[in-house]
Subunit: 486 residues, 2 copies
């Protein structure tokens, strides 16, 4: 078959594609180029089939599909014609742009400006809070777990939907190996798998906040938690933090409290046993629900990790949020909630509409990682490495900086209130010139005036031998900053 003149176009039906597809493409081209204008009748299938030496059913199939796609209309007894409403693809009118700024929903809350120094990677002294150290990542064990996960027996867990029930192997490993270390005994119906603690906070807020509910939060505290609950309609009640943890005494009429009892974010203070007991007694009296963000609880460097608040909870009013981000870094996005079954069911329902469920690849790999003892080993190694860095930092701070140092028993960062004349925001830039990357504490405060003399020093993101030289440079930068403003 050679090229044929069809609707004024040169059509070659000799390609490898089925004839009906080539014919379809030719007709669409004729319509889009304007050769066949809207309303124009097409030749009958009989005459076109003869002209092209193809079967009549091929032409009919093509016409029918073009009707279904809206290029053609079928007119009874008359045959086919180009759709009368079909304009050319590009109109010459100016398109009407969307005014996105006024179109999107305004949540009315302030923006978080963390001033996380970007570009700290590859710098000599990155004291960035929460920055993971690739050197501490359990690459070999995790690679082995990934390989085990790709065995045929695990494939269904990777590809199937887990909307109504989480990966059973992962939940089993949580109950058996992970939660007991936090003093928690739980059954599978008390567990929901999340995309990390942040996701657990979102699901708790969407499940528990009725508009106008008063919610106690720590001040200073985790700014993302504050935003999540504001967006859910809560009225925040900021509560002060001292060396025994948060004080809720002045928080009246609250229905929820969002707390970090293990190591308070950002000060790392552990909520004292006396306060834990007072809190739980009050919770029963006031019908208060407590969200326990178990932030960095494993990173206790003096004494043993304190058991979780959930482990003391006899009324089922503590909602425990855990994650694997401590040693894995924030990139993994895997966590869990432990709470009463009725609340877990509600959170699962909300999770369904948010994202269905966390990826099966990650839950199954972590299940095998835990089962092989890799998780316990990775956590131990990570804790030891962080403890070494933390001890060096704790010794170096009084040596080089004559600042007050809150001295909690653990964590992966130090909370350093400098002299009141320190401008910590200006210090960020001053220190960066010496290769030292720090954060201020300003974004953690919810009430005015926001202090600007406090530095947060993360110790997880740089090797042990860099810590003292880094702190020595920070001290130089701080002196320079304060001198320049006298």
């Amino acid at each position: 078959m050679t090229a044929t003149l069809l609707f004024g176009l040169d059509v070659d039906l000799a390609g490898d594609d089925p004839i009906y597809r080539q014919l379809r493409a030719a007709i669409i081209e004729a319509i889009e180029s304007g050769v066949l204008p809207p309303g124009e009748p097409l030749p009958s299938s009989r005459s076109l089939a003869e002209r092209l030496s193809v079967s009549r059913s091929t032409v009919n199939l093509t016409y029918q599909e073009l009707v279904a796609e809206g290029f053609l209309v079928a007119k009874e007894r008359v045959g086919y014609a180009v759709h009368p409403d079909l304009d050319r693809p590009q109109s010459d009118d100016e398109p009407r742009r969307v005014d996105w700024v006024n179109r999107v929903v305004d949540y009315g809350d302030f923006l978080i400006h963390l001033r996380k120094p970007h570009g700290h990677q590859g710098q000599p002294y990155p004291f960035v809070v929460g920055a993971p150290d690739p050197e501490l990542f359990p690459t070999a064990d995790w690679t082995r777990a990934l390989r085990a996960t790709m065995a045929d027996e695990h494939l269904p867990a990777l590809i199937h939907d887990h909307t109504d029930a989480d990966d059973p192997l992962f939940v089993e490993q949580l109950c058996r190996e992970v939660l007991p270390a936090r003093g928690i005994e739980a059954t599978p119906d008390e567990i929901l798998v999340t995309m990390g603690t942040q996701n657990g906070l979102r699901l708790a807020a969407a499940s528990l906040v009725h508009p106008g509910d008063r919610v106690a939060v720590e001040n200073p505290g985790y700014p993302d938690a504050a935003h999540i609950f504001i967006r859910a309609g809560a009225e925040l009640v900021p509560c002060p933090v001292d060396n025994q943890g948060v004080l809720l005494d002045a928080a009246d009429d609250i229905s929820l409290a969002i707390l970090t009892p293990g190591h308070q974010y950002p000060t790392n203070v552990t909520l004292s046993v006396a306060r834990r007991r007072q809190l739980l007694a009050r919770a029963d009296i006031d019908d208060l629900i407590i969200i326990e963000d178990d932030h960095n609880s494993e990173l206790r460097h003096l004494g043993q990790p304190v058991a979780s608040l959930k482990s003391l909870d006899r009324s089922g009013r503590v909602v425990h949020l855990g994650s694997f981000s401590e040693y894995f870094g924030p990139g993994l996005r895997l966590g869990y909630v432990v709470a009463e079954p009725a609340l877990i069911a509600k959170m699962r329902d909300i999770r369904r509409y948010d994202l269905r469920h966390p990826p099966g690849l990650i839950t199954r790999t972590m299940a095998l990682f835990i089962e092989r003892g890799d998780h316990a080993r990775a956590l131990r190694r990570f804790r030891n490495a962080i403890r070494e860095r933390w001890e060096i930092a704790v010794a170096a701070v009084p040596e080089h900086l004559e600042w007050a140092m809150a001295f909690p028993a653990g964590g992966a960062s130090l909370w350093l209130p400098g002299p009141y004349e320190l401008d910590a925001t200006a210090l960020i830039d001053e220190a960066a010139e010496l290769g030292v990357f720090i954060e201020t504490a300003a974004s953690c405060f919810l009430t005015d005036p926001v202090p600007n003399h406090i530095v947060r020093l993360g110790v997880s993101g740089l090797p042990a031998q860099s810590i003292e030289p880094g702190i020595e440079r920070l001290a130089r930068a701080a002196k320079r900053q304060m001198r320049s403003h006298k």
Copy 2:
């Protein structure tokens, strides 16, 4: 050192643990058992150190830590005592339970009851919609990509935070390899990575729905999309679907439309070219925003895949949602949004508080999978396999079931309206007895009366040779069901 009687308890300080930890444990035990009641003074550090033959600083360190934890209080000049507010850990009072049913937020929408037949795995004829077939999973290629991902150079992408910017390699591969196949040219600031289409719908709803906004949805349509927009405060406007796709003509005063133009969910009809053009023209006039859920668009079995609606969008008012769930199954949870930069920024902000970001492990592995050509190959193989199954099903239905069959040009399921006397809900159980698992279409309808004579037949979850025997059995079950109700 041998066992010593301390506070009436037999204490052995001979273990491997540091002395201060053993001493700490002994004091806590004495407090918790009631041997040391609240308010009780402790021996001075000097006298205790002498009694235990340990250094005085060890005793002081222990006392100070116990103060920080709230077990003890330090009284000036007097020494240490048990915290006066410290009650025994277990009170005998009955704990006050939480009334969760009345405590959690009621979203006021009806529940989705999909009647997805559980336990269909391992059954001979699982015609379950959206069920992935492990046989079609690209195990070898994906395993290779996972291994490549664990190379040192990719580790930072796995463990670091991606809240403010998605994995650049994945975004690059989307722009270069994936979107052009859908007719879309996009820059990185027009892309947000999601946890799949469901997550994209949630982020679009949270960004764009103001309470009371009228939102057009397809009827029948995707029930989860309806719920997501109801929960965001939308008033739904259900729009009918015919053989050219959805008809929005009767939907007045709408500000948003949620559509599946490629293959309509659940009928698989492709939105005709004429309707696409009308829709975009109207969108400009009414300042309408269109959410394009690109559901199953690659699975076109007759003709070529139709280009996306986004590819025709000159005003930036189409928000395109894609995913990798087609061949990967729903378990992977990876998708993307393509939209104007201002909207992408808003959605990224909401994503931050929901879950921070999708896991780096998955975005980086998929980036390498695409880069190696594995994605294109997997999609082609999957499409061919589904086409074969679909063609068998399309031929078998008229042979065994004398039902009307909507005949769209693609998809991974058939939409089969049976005779009006069919009770499709009863048919589920009747068919299950013959090993055949089906779904009804009832959950896809938003308006009363909900038809109960339509069956959905997924073809992705069972091998080609099972399809005709399964349909033959389904026909038998249907005859039996209709006979039993006469």
